[in-house]
């Protein structure tokens, strides 16, 4: 030690001599910081991923249901459609005056845990995501007239498929289904570039392919079912139904009028929803949960810090002699105060930095599996301004909490002088 900053070095020595309990305190703070930062990161990435899933679409139309529900099952593929839209209604509105393009969607099948989306090549031409970004292929091309499929980026990676592979589509929406459409294997013709959304997880086929594949639905050893097992097929030719469709208009201003027309359509109960409005409503619901999560995280940090405070207060009595010794060699009461406050600040700061390191490590390791499983892209695994703010706040909180025992020590050192009887 030199004469400069004797207190800082005393603080470091003091912590070093209580290594074990200091390390535990740091870990407690670090874990709670990890919780806050990790939740924050997941929250924002999930929000971004969801919000980017669809763009540039004026109306989403499906059977009569709530707008949020339709958005969830038709676009996010969360939940099950319970009803369908007739092909006639689709054709009627796809051809309505003012409609620029339309994309039909047929859901209900799966391939090894990935949703199969029946659609037309209009999907690849008109579908937009993020900030009005177009879909792009990293390999191959869109499906054509044959029994062909296009894979989303995450689907291709997880299933380890490439252009030219053959896949077999299963009945129903489960990971395994025992009614497989074996007789018509589907050839992969293209793989999409990653979008960072749930679209990456799907397998896209033409409506005609779905029809073909459903032509012989009954495997040889099972009795022919009276209905098709209660699954929603939703293919155009067989049952003349699709799940939902997307519309793009020539003039966005027409959207309210067309929406009303569709909602009041007498021939079939339909719901038309503006995706941006449904998304906004979805956020209002999720937003409450998000805020609750954030509050929990903040409380966790506070708990870690209070644990540190308790540890320091516990040692305070033992340290009265130490304070008296320091006073006797000429330390001022203010320096005694600073000693304890800086110890608390150091522990809190070190714990926060450790928490940031943990978060980087944990999210770095989990980023790829998360993207594969959910399509969510973790944007900022490396420390950024959010982390800097959390470290600063936690350190400041540690200093503030440390002021309590430090104040007591300050008062004690004035009163004790040299008269402590131990």
């Amino acid at each position: 030690m030199s004469t400069r900053f004797p207190i800082a070095r005393l603080a470091l020595r003091s912590i070093a001599s209580r290594r074990a309990s200091a390390a535990l305190t740091c870990c407690a703070v670090a874990l709670s910081v990890l919780l806050v930062l990790g939740v924050q990161e997941m929250r924002e990435s999930a929000r971004q991923s969801f919000a980017s899933t669809i763009a540039g679409t004026d109306l989403l139309v499906g059977p009569r249901t709530s707008g949020v529900n339709l958005l969830l099952y038709a676009v996010f593929r969360i939940g099950q459609p319970s009803n369908n839209v007739s092909w006639q209604s689709y054709e009627r509105f796809a051809a309505a005056p003012g409609v620029d393009w339309s994309i039909p969607l047929s859901l209900g099948d799966s391939y090894r845990g990935h949703a199969v989306v029946g659609t037309t090549e209009a999907y690849f031409r008109h579908f937009r995501y993020g900030r009005d970004s177009r879909l792009e292929m990293t390999a191959g091309q869109a499906f054509g007239a044959g029994t062909e499929a296009v894979l989303g980026a995450a689907a291709a990676r997880e299933l380890d498929h490439d252009v030219g592979d053959e896949i077999v589509i299963a009945h129903g929406l489960g990971a395994t289904s025992f009614l497989k459409h074996d007789r018509h294997p589907v050839t992969v013709t293209g793989i999409l570039a990653p979008t960072g959304t749930v679209a990456d997880r799907a397998v896209y086929v033409s409506l005609a392919t779905l029809d073909r594949v459903h032509e012989t639905a009954t495997p040889s050893f099972a009795p022919a079912p009276a209905d098709d097992g209660g699954h929603d097929h939703g293919t155009a030719a067989e049952s003349g139904e699709i799940t939902a469709f997307l519309l793009g208009l020539e003039s966005r201003v027409q959207v309210l009028r067309l929406q009303r027309t569709i909602n009041e359509y007498a021939d079939e109960p339909l719901t038309a929803v503006i995706p941006a409005v449904a998304l906004f409503e979805l956020w209002s619901v999720i937003g409450v949960a998000e805020n609750a999560l954030l509050a929990v995280g903040a409380l966790a940090v506070l708990t870690g810090l209070v644990g540190m405070l308790v540890a320091i207060l516990g040692t305070l009595n033992e340290r009265r002699r130490e304070m008296a010794i320091l006073r006797s060699v000429g330390a001022r009461p203010r320096q005694v105060f600073l000693l304890l406050v800086s110890e608390a600040g150091l522990l809190a700061g070190a714990g926060a930095l450790l928490g940031v390191a943990l978060k980087t490590a944990v999210l770095g390791a989990l980023a790829s599996p998360i993207q594969t499983r959910t399509g969510i892209l973790l944007e900022s695994v490396w420390p950024g301004s959010a982390e800097a703010v959390v470290v600063a706040v936690v350190t400041a909180a540690g200093l503030a909490l440390g002021a309590l025992p430090a104040w007591r020590a300050y008062r004690n050192s004035l009163a004790d002088g040299m008269t402590i009887r131990l």
């Binding site: 919000a51 763009a55 900030r131 003039s251 966005r252 201003v253 309210l256 941006a276 209002s284």
Partner: protein, 149 residues
């Protein structure tokens, strides 16, 4: 001498006030956006065409927001401004001259669909004459603020 200084000062103030962007853009009402009836016949239908004279006017207009496009952060970048809440659902949609198609430089954070806002910007009239699109108002909004009842 002092009166000259005073004159100069008040001129300067006047210039400053008038060049302040949108400080006091005139407030527009939705009624003004409908052309006045040309005939005195009470059964005559109100026109759904926009008032051409409003083209290029910088105004403040209050209304409810129907989002059309949001960015990755969930902020709204394009919307329709309508005079009443529930234009999507409960009641017939407003005629073309009772809504404004608004775009924003900077996407903003919409608080709630039921919260009305003051939108300030320069109105444009876009003319169409096809069966699929009507002439309507558009605006590039410069300022948005919450409407306080």
């Amino acid at each position: 001498m002092t009166s000259a200084i005073r004159l100069a000062a008040s001129l300067a103030l006047l210039l400053a006030a008038s060049s302040a962007p949108g400080q006091d853009a005139p407030k527009l009402t939705w009624e003004e956006m409908v052309p006045a009836k040309t005939s005195s016949d009470p059964l005559a239908v109100t026109s759904s065409a926009p008032v051409l004279a409003l083209d290029g006017r910088t105004v403040q207009l209050p209304g409810f927001i129907v989002p059309l496009e949001s960015d990755e952060g969930g902020l709204i970048s394009e919307f329709l401004l309508v005079p009443y809440f529930g234009a999507c659902i409960h009641v017939p949609p407003p005629p073309p001259n009772q809504l404004v198609y608004v775009t924003l430089e900077e996407a903003f954070n919409l608080v709630s669909l039921q919260q009305p806002y003051w939108i300030e910007g320069t109105l444009q009239v876009e003319e169409y004459s096809s069966e699929v699109a009507d002439s309507h108002y558009t605006m590039r909004a410069e300022r948005i603020s919450k409407y306080n009842y």
